[in-house]
């Protein structure tokens, strides 16, 4: 934990704080239907779009109509992406813009998984981008989905905030208007400039075929021997026979990368153009690009707290929510950074110098601090982009990202999703502690009653259910995802037995349910079983959350408002921040403690006892 790290952290928090207010005010203009400074340019385009879509921008929707629109939009875009991926080898555009040969169609399970993944803003990638995707698919199926799903998240958050701010109202906004305005005024303009900046840092933006380079240092690797039908050859014991293969050349990826990187970060999507994600020099070439990418993950989620304060006319409340998020974020960064900086004691005991800490799975360019910061930010938010391999972190260093995801990605969180997830905890905090001021629970003048509690409880319950039950299924069963049915070894697709293997499973379903998309990537998840269950977990995590949240929005919007007074429950100040953090930890995290104990916690103690996985 060196001075450079402290300075960068201070700089990061400082800049984040600086952008929060102006961007928050801008968000308020965009989401409240006010004119922005871009109105003269984009206003006409906006109005034409409504005409084409046959949307009356002045007509608002009830929460049920809003839900229907959200679900319809998601379904259509998901089917679109699924079809595109299934037929990516046969599409006419393929040959025109693609410099790449041999991109085959995706299998049904992988296409389902990928379509669900990008629809839900998860960007879990069971595929390897540079091997599997055509440029056309990257741009049309994936990059556009990055915009759509991000805008959808922000729209749902706006609907919930409207529900809180309004009273005796039957509507929560118009989804189509929200969608259009978020695209035109927020995501597209920022991404245009952001992508150009990334190009200036060295990220490719082209349609060239991959380059090939001769290796200066030739390598020999072992690959499975295959027979004439391309099936692996096995020996008498059933083990795969390996053979040597010389590697003399290297492919260097090209493609429209910069345009996808901008929205991948800004929209907390996280799906890389290439498999190595932001660890790859073409996705994240410079320290400046690294800093900006980490910043752009938190920018909108942080500004949304300001938007909340402005919309409900209680800016202190907005800052209190920001404060609770920032506090948990900083604790996460410190813990992860410390664990990685301390490294693995066994290496030290065996005389291996590790001045920098645990460098396994990390880019030397980024080092310990920037890897720890990126890992914490990407999992606090539901981004899931990585610039280092979480699977290779120390047990505690890896616990932080996993824990962050299991909290529900509410520490700033995904665009929109972070705010509406956090507001669920705000409601629960108010409900549990609200009675202690001698009134039935009230949040900003609205009574929190059985209906809101039921819906909030449902959100927490469904997320816990998805993570635990799918993980239990994967951990308990032995006959799927298996590379080797005869030996039964490692048949869960994990690379390790014991706590680390368990962490990989738990991480996969936490990441999917939380719509994060990062992975303890040692797991072999590209199997029909994992592709299907993970896709289901992603859909559950997204829509079983959005529907109850919009129901709460509708219910709150219809309620009467009690004016605030000295007897009203305070939702600003230190007491509330501490209460909110306490609720997040008690309700959000305690559920996963036993599972975490069997994973990273046990692994940590075993590591100190000299046993590694």
């Amino acid at each position: 934990m060196n001075a450079s790290g402290w300075i960068q952290l201070a700089l990061y928090m400082g800049v984040l704080l600086l952008v929060t207010k102006p961007l928050g005010i801008y968000l308020f203009q965009v989401l409240d239907g006010k004119n922005t400074f871009l109105e003269p340019v984009l206003g006409p385009v906006e109005r034409i779009t409504y005409k084409l879509l046959r949307v009356d921008p002045r007509r608002e929707q009830t929460w049920k109509a809003y839900v229907a629109a959200v679900l319809l939009f998601s379904l259509v875009t998901m089917v679109f992406t699924y079809a595109l991926l299934r037929f990516q080898d046969r599409l006419p555009f393929h040959g025109i813009i693609d410099g790449l040969p041999n991109k085959t169609a995706m299998t049904p399970d992988l296409a389902f998984n990928t379509a669900a993944s990008f629809t839900t803003n998860t960007n879990w990638q069971s595929y390897v981008g540079e091997n599997t995707m055509s440029y056309f698919s990257q741009m049309v199926a994936l990059a556009s989905h990055n915009f759509w799903s991000a805008a959808l998240g922000i729209a749902v958050a706006a609907a919930l905030v409207r529900g809180i701010a309004r009273h005796e109202s039957g509507t929560v906004g118009n989804f189509w208007v929200d969608l259009v305005r978020i695209h035109y005024y927020l995501l597209l303009p920022i991404c245009l400039i952001y992508a150009l900046f990334l190009v200036s840092q060295g990220i490719p933006q082209n349609f060239k075929p991959y380059d090939t380079a001769q290796l200066t240092e030739k390598q020999t690797i072992q690959v499975p021997k295959t027979d004439a039908q391309n099936n692996p050859v096995k020996d008498a014991a059933g083990n795969v026979v390996l053979q040597d293969q010389a590697v003399e050349t290297q492919s260097i990826v090209e493609g429209p990368i910069a345009s996808q990187m901008a929205i991948k970060m800004l929209g907390t999507n996280g799906g890389g153009f290439v498999n190595a994600n932001a660890a790859h020099p073409f996705e994240n070439p410079t320290p400046l690009s690294n800093f900006l990418q980490i910043l752009s993950i938190f920018a909108i989620p942080s500004a949304l707290t300001y938007y909340l304060g402005r919309a409900v006319k209680n800016q202190k409340h907005g800052w209190a929510v920001w404060g609770a998020m920032a506090a948990v974020f900083l604790v996460g960064v410190f813990t992860c950074w410390k664990a990685e900086a301390d490294g693995n004691p066994n290496l030290y005991n065996n005389g291996v110098a590790q001045v920098d800490g645990n460098m396994e799975g990390k880019e030397v360019r980024f080092g310990i601090f920037n890897s720890a910061l990126f890992a914490t930010v990407t999992t606090d938010a539901s981004c899931g982009a990585v610039n280092s391999m979480h699977d290779s972190f120390t047990p505690i260093g890896g616990l932080v990202p996993l824990f962050n995801i299991q909290l529900g990605e509410i520490i700033f969180g995904g665009v929109g999703a972070g705010l509406y997830g956090m507001l669920i905890f705000v409601l629960l905090a108010v409900f549990i502690a609200g009675l202690m001021v001698g009134r039935t629970p009230e949040y900003l003048g609205k009574k929190i009653q059985a209906y809101e509690v039921k819906m909030s409880g449902l959100v927490v319950l469904v997320l816990t259910l998805s993570i635990l039950v799918f993980s239990a299924w994967a951990a308990g069963a032995n006959n799927f995802g298996a590379p080797d049915p005869t030996t039964n070894a490692l048949s869960n697709g994990t690379n390790y037995n014991g706590p680390h293997g368990f962490s990989e499973i738990l991480y996969a379903f936490s990441s999917a349910t939380g719509n994060n998309g990062s992975a303890f990537a040692g797991i072999s998840a590209n199997t029909p079983w994992y592709n299907t269950t993970i896709a289901l977990a992603m859909l559950i995590g997204r829509f079983c959350m959005i529907v109850p949240i919009l129901a709460i929005a509708g219910s709150l919007a219809a309620k009467k408002l009690t004016p605030a007074g000295p007897g009203s429950f305070p939702v600003d100040g230190w007491t509330f921040i501490i209460l909110l953090i306490g609720t997040v930890l008690l309700i959000g995290a305690l559920n996963f403690l036993p599972a975490l104990a069997l994973g990273p916690v046990v692994e940590h103690f075993l590591m100190h006892a000299g046993k590694l996985f």
Partner: protein, 672 residues
Amino acid sequence: MAAQSRSIFDPKIIVPALGDSLKKLNPVTMVRNPVMFVTEVGALVTTVEVFASNESKAFTGQISVWLWFTVLFANFAEAMAEGRGKAQANTLRASRTQTTANRLRDNGKAENVSADQLRKGDVVVISAGEAIPGDGEIIEGAATVDESAITGESAPVIREAGGDRSSVTGGTRVLSDEIKVRISANPGESFLDRMIGLVEGAKRQKTPNEIALTILLSALTIIFLLVCMTLLPFGKFSGVDFSPTVLIALLVCLIPTTIGGLLSAIGIAGIDRLVQKNVLAMSGRAVEAAGDVDVLLLDKTGTITLGNRQAVEFVPAPGVSPHELADAAQLSSLADETPEGRSIVVLAKQQEGIRGRELAQLPNAEFVPFTAQTRMSGVNLDGQQYRKGAADSVRSFVGGKFAPEIEAAVKDISSKGGTPLVVATKEKPLGVIYLKDIVKGGLADRFERFRAMGIKTVMITGDNPLTAAAIAKEAGVDDYLAQATPEDKLAYIRREQTGGKLVAMTGDGTNDAPALAQADVGVAMNTGTQAAKEAGNMVDLDSNPTKLIEVVEIGKQLLMTRGALTTFSIANDIAKYFAIIPAMLLAAFPAIAPLNIMRLNSPSSAILSAVIFNAVVIIALIPLALRGVRFLALGADALLRRNLLIYGLGGIIVPFIGIKIIDVIIAGLHLV
């Protein structure tokens, strides 16, 4: 006989409660409380495990016993609360059992029937010395009634047909005269019966907030059920076999048994505390609403002022000595038996040393009573006509003119909120008596505290705005409604409610009924009419309007207690994790020993300690649940900080200490 507070450890309540705790094990009733139902099922499974599994029987057996205790303790808490409530209600009800009634048949003849045969609409005749057989309204006659059975007040009260004092309560006794009463409630539907139903388990309806809380507790229970069930395959993957007993122990410790076990006891105790104040609530919902009240409508007379105006000053006319004025004032008031008249006599004695004369000492005095026409009263004595009365009446009595000083005094007294009475002889006005409304002591402080809690106090009065403003200022209320008619009251309530506020009020007259019905908390006076009592959702047996303030405090205290114990219960989980998780994993992974931060003796004793703590804490918190947390009239900010510190932080720390102590005892006794 009035309700009184009882010791928590009254054996008359504890002994039957012990029996009830066993009866409440019936799963059919237990389902109403999902948290405790899961605990009961867990206890049952562990009991089977004692015989079926090959684990240590001492360990499984003790876990099982303590799980049963957990359920029983929760049942006991509820039975205790019910017992106390029932005991309270039974003392009230005892008086009315086995009374007989003279029911009037259609042909006008009376027949003797038992009180429980009376139906709504029946007319009964009650004579002096007889008990009133049921709640009803006097339709003919007037009587003095001894209501001490209900109110504890020994002075008899007058009840008469028509007007606002026509209702009678079953169980009270007629002392003189004969009245005809129309019965207004079927047996089992009277206020008292409804009240008893409220504290008895079977009939009790959950309040809206209780329903919401039960939903949250159920959600947490299902979540922890999932957590514990999935631990089985997780353990299998990691090479650890968790026994059902251990998983159930973990489950019961994690689900919110503390609040789940005490929730209904807290609610019943709240209603019980109201009964102790002699207030009958018609529903638990009303008690909850009392805590939420934003606006208190308080009748001036009886609530804010003592009810009677008192003479505080003589202002003599020019050329009249104070003694002369006092003397005339006293003479004119000798026959005036109103509190105001008596206070004039007293003031004259205090200020001028004029002894109160007996009427008998003045044989040739002719007293002139107050009439609505003259609006004066006084005495004709020795050819002199002494009068006192409102300024207008006395002005015309003396011939149409006052000295400017008198006019000034009259105006001045009015503007101070007082009532000026002018004293005069036929020849000349002598001066003015200043009658003042006496504001009850300590109210200003109390209203100040209400203000801190965000509650607005509004004084309702029939006085003119000038007078009302002056009294409102003195009493420290936030607002007043002067020259208020029942319609004004209703409109005021509606206006506040439209602004999202909850309103509480008291009332007694029939014309108060619409406002009482409209108010979120309407406390009807027991002396009031049947209509008023039907319209309100609470009845104050003492007919003391100041009670409204206490009703609000009890409502708030109930909500605070519920919130405090919920927070405490959930915060407890942290320590239980630190006790049980290391214990569960230690056998398979000895390296995690440092996680056992409480240094508990062995895995078995750690788990058993957590389970015992979880059970014992319910018993330990019963007194708090029944008495309620300490009520402090503070702003929400300060209250939240204070209660979070005590019940939130306390909820985190206490179980660490408790579990450690129990573990030391278990180790010392070699229990496992």
